[in-house]
Every structure is written in structure tokens, then in C-alpha cells.
Amino acid sequence: METILVAEGLKKTFSLSRKQQKLEKTNSKTKVAVDNLSFSAYKGEIFGLLGPNGAGKTTTLRMIASLIRPDQGDVVVDGFSVVKDPQKVRERIGFLTSELKLEDFFTPNYLFDFFSELYGIDPTTRNERKQKLFSRFGIEKFAEVKVANLSTGMKQKVSLAISLVHDPDIIIFDEPTNGLDVLTAKTVTDYLLELRNMGKSIILSTHIFSLVEKVCDRVGVVIDGRMAACDTLEQIRNGKSLEDRFFDIYSEMKGGNDE
């Protein structure tokens, strides 16, 4: 299988404010969010990063998307390093996360055109793509409604369509179904499978076992910023349900020291 993304020894440390120190109940001024994390993803597969909240999944994805720089290590995306060539990486990926917001004032139609222009998409291709994506997600009905007036589900659909304006080969989804109702969540998961069938490579992060079981080919279990296990879904499950296996791995990692 062809490797499309390699993360090698990723490390990211954040400094903590006094307030954060209190919340985290620690005296340490820094927090290691991602600690020597490595994995590879292959072309045409869905790779899932599974882990509890605060495990470092989002930080990892943000480093892959070149929004933040790793303190150590590197990610090579389709042959380009996020440290040396972040712009080339950005051209090749689509990134969907709840932290990237759309301006309330504009309509989905305007925003699609705006982002297409930033990616240098010609108007004909843009219109074709827009028509296809908007009809796939039923955005046509509210294409001229300001983002401010859309529901969470509608916004997520628009964000999804906009993250795909440049038809990227690698798509990174951070908790793609979080906060969505069951119907919208199903639209999103179905679309993930569709993208895979189109030959796209997908990296997603989630804490939902059923989502991983439904769509992922391979899984990396992230606990405390470290890769606790990384293999195909079948190998990870090892005959058990993913949920049971996850708790096994979790207690192995924690070694029964505090929890």
C-alpha cells in the first residue's frame, strides 16, 4: 500500500497559565499535549485516531494541517513536510474542525466562492463542484441564508463542503460528528465512506467507538499524547469489541497507577 502521510516523533508542549494550572491541578508550567507520536496513513484508507478528550488528538491533527508547528518531529504529507513546506501541505489537504468557523455575515454560496478563489479554482470547476456538493448535502435550500441563521447541522454541512472546495486528496476531520443530530451525523459518516470510495485518504479523530468501527480501516489509540496502539481495526479489536479493547489498552498504559 502506498503511504500518503507519515508522522514521525511528533511532540508538542503548551505553556499553562496560572488559571490553567489550577484547572489541571498541577504546578508544572507546561503540559505535554503530544509526546513522541508516530504513525503512517495509507492512500485510500480511513485512519482513525481514537482517544479520550484531552489525549492530544486535535493537537496532532492541527500539526498535520500545519496550523501549529511541532516542537519536535515532522509530518510528511504527500511528500511535503509540514515544517519546511507548510504552504504545499495546505494546498493538498482539506481540514474540518469545529474550531474553524465561517463568518456569520456571509451566505454558504458566497463563502464557497470566496474559498475557491483563495485556492485558485477557476469559476467553471468551482460552479460544478459547488453544484455537486451543495446538492449532496442539501445546501441548495439554504445557500443564500446567512451562516448566522443556520442550525449547527447546517453549518457543519457547509463547513464540510467548504473544506472540499479544492477537491483535496487528503482530508482531515476532527471529531466530524460531534454535536450533530443523528440524521446529520449519518450524512457525514456516509460521506466519509463515499470519499474513501473515490480514492481519497482520510484521517479522522474521534472518541466515538461506533464511528471507528463503522468507517475506519486502521486505528491509532492515543492516550496522554502517546500512541498506545496502532494497527488495522481487526488487529486492534483482537476478537473483542473495540470498546472492551480500548479499556484494556487504557489500563495497560496507565498501569493502574492512578485510575
Binding site: 496550523l67 501549529i68 504552504q87 494546498e91 474553524l100 468557523k101 465561517l102 483563495l118
Partner: protein
Amino acid sequence: MNNNITTIIKKEFARFFGDKRMVFTTVIMPGLLIYIIYSFVVGGIRDTFESDKDYRPKVYVQQMPQLLQPMFEALEMDITDATTTDIESIKPLIENKDIELLVAFPTDFDSAMANYDISDSTLAAPNVLIYSNVTNMESGKAETVVRSILSSYEETICNKFNINALTDETANEEFNLATDEDFMGQILSAMLPFMLIIFLYSGCMAVAPESIAGEKERGTIATLLVTPMNRSHLAFGKIISLSFIALISGLSSFLGVILSLPKFMGSAMEGMPTNIYTTSDYLLILGIILSTVLVLISVISIISAYAKTVKEASTLVLPLMLIIMIVGIPSTIGGGNAQTAISWYFIPIYNSIQAMTGVFSFSYSLINVATTIAINIVYAAAFSYVLAKMFNSEKIMFAK
């Protein structure tokens, strides 16, 4: 221009001009408010201090000297001879504002004046008593007029020489050699540069924090940063579009001042020339203003990019406003004299005010104005570079 820069500019314009409320509050309202306040409120206050031109103050005079009688009668006043009335009974009339003034000459004023010798310390000078009421504006004015008549009468008695006296030879002579244009230029150059810079700064304050700190606060700038767009294109696009919006906002306030000026200044402006500047003067002013707005917007953008929220940005830009006011004040009291040494024109903001003062007072040097514009553009470019670097810094853009 680079495609991404135009895309950002178009988006910023669509955001601003598409929002009627925003256009109203940042462009239309400031100018309109200033116009209303200056022309109606300030003009109205001034009107209350200006008396009725047709009003004739009522003045009681006791023992009017013969020589002074024609002078008093020539005044626009109702003069009543009150020689036989007791002073004490006239005082309440002034107190109650029924009459304006009482002028009481001593008995035999003419002879007492003639006999008075300044070198003889045993003699007291004849004393004229004037009773008035300071809370009655007409009373105060009548008193000033009467005092000036008495003073000039005193001067005529002991006249030794004149200054600029009207004789047949000097009848058509103009002694103040300043032209009306120069005079107007002096007034405007003391007033306009300071006002312009303050209004432009307010315009910048109204748009930049919202567009940069606001986008950061709402998480929409992160969506832009995940695209392959060059960070410097984002910085340039923001600075150019925001400068334009700030400029029209600042000029709206300025227009409000200019339009209300005739009402605000009242009679002081009567007969003054209004169109004293040439097209090239206006072009120079426009050049200075444009380059100044670029500097102001880029500085406020840097502060806004540093701030976590719009509120924080708005607080952080206030001290800068104070600095600008302090820098601007000398030009308002300098009486329209601009600095001549070129070194002053390397200091941003100060150079703009000095260059504008020079143009408005017809005393500019083209080199200084050109230096101002060039230096401002260099500063704006340097600040844009800093802003691009900030857009690239995760610590600044994603700080929580």
C-alpha cells in the same frame, strides 16, 4: 495586484458595505452627528450669548458734561437725564435689569478736569461712577461702550501723537498687510491637521479591531490560515481594505466639520474667502492623508492581531490615541507654522501633521511633503510585514 490580495479586499468590502448598520454607524453617523452638534448645538449656544442687534440699552446719566453730550447721543442707546434722581433709587432698577447702566459725572466735571494737575498729589482726579449689572449681558456691553468713549475722550484731551490715524493721506492705506487668504490659511492650518488626524484615527479604531481581533475571537481567521494563502497577502489585503473604509469614515467626520464651519464660526467667517487652495494643494493633502491612514491602520492591525478579543483591542488602542493627540496639539497652537528641517518628517504621525500644516498655511516644501508620504509608506510596509509574521505565529493567532 496578487489575486489573493484582491480576494481579501473584495471580501472585506462585501462584509462592510453589505452591512447597512455598519455603514451607518461608521460612515454616516459620525459626520452627521458632528454636523448636528457643531451647527445646531454649539451654534445655538453661541446665539444665546449674542445679543439682539436692535436692542437699545437704557442708560441713566447724571450731570452730563456738555462736551460729551453729542458723543453719548450718537450711541445706539436710550439716554435719560437722571440728574435730579437719587443714585440709591436708581440702583434697584439696574439690579432688577429694568435699565442697563447709570453713569454719574461729578459736579463741574469739565472745570474739575481742567484744573486737575497730575503732578499735584493733593488734588484728586474727578471720578466718574458707572453702575452696571454683570449678570445682565446688555448691561455689560453698554458699560464697555461707555468706558471706551470716556477713555478716548481722555486721550483726545492729552493727545501727543497718533498711531495709524485716519487722515486724508492715510484714508486708503492698508496697514495690516496679511491677505485674507493668508489669514484664512492660518486659521485652517491651526485647526484642520489636528482634526483630520483625530478623525482618521477614530475611523481606523472603528474598523480594524473588529476585522482582525474580531475574526480571531470568532475563529474565522483560522479558517483563512488553513488555506495555502500567503500570510503577507492576507496582511496586505486587510490593511488596504481597512484603510479605505477608515478613510471614508474619517472623511465623513471631516466633512461634518467643514459643512458646519460657517455656522460654528458665525460672524467671524463673514466675508472671508472660502476657496483658497488649489487642486495641487488638495492632491498633496490627499496623498498625506492616504499614507497616514496606511500607517494608522497597520499599527492598529498589529495591536488587534495581538489582542485576544475586540474588547481588548479597543482598550489597547486608546493610549495610542492619547499619543496622537499630544503630537497634534503643538500644531494647533503653533499658528500654522510647519517645521522646516527635513529630519522632523521622518517621525510618523508628527510628519503628517506638520506636512498638512505646511500645505494649509501655504508654507510647505515639496521635499518635506514627499518625504512624509514616502516615509509613511515605508512604515506601513514594515508594519504589514510584522502583521504577516504575527499571522504566522501560532502563539499569537491561537492563544487562549
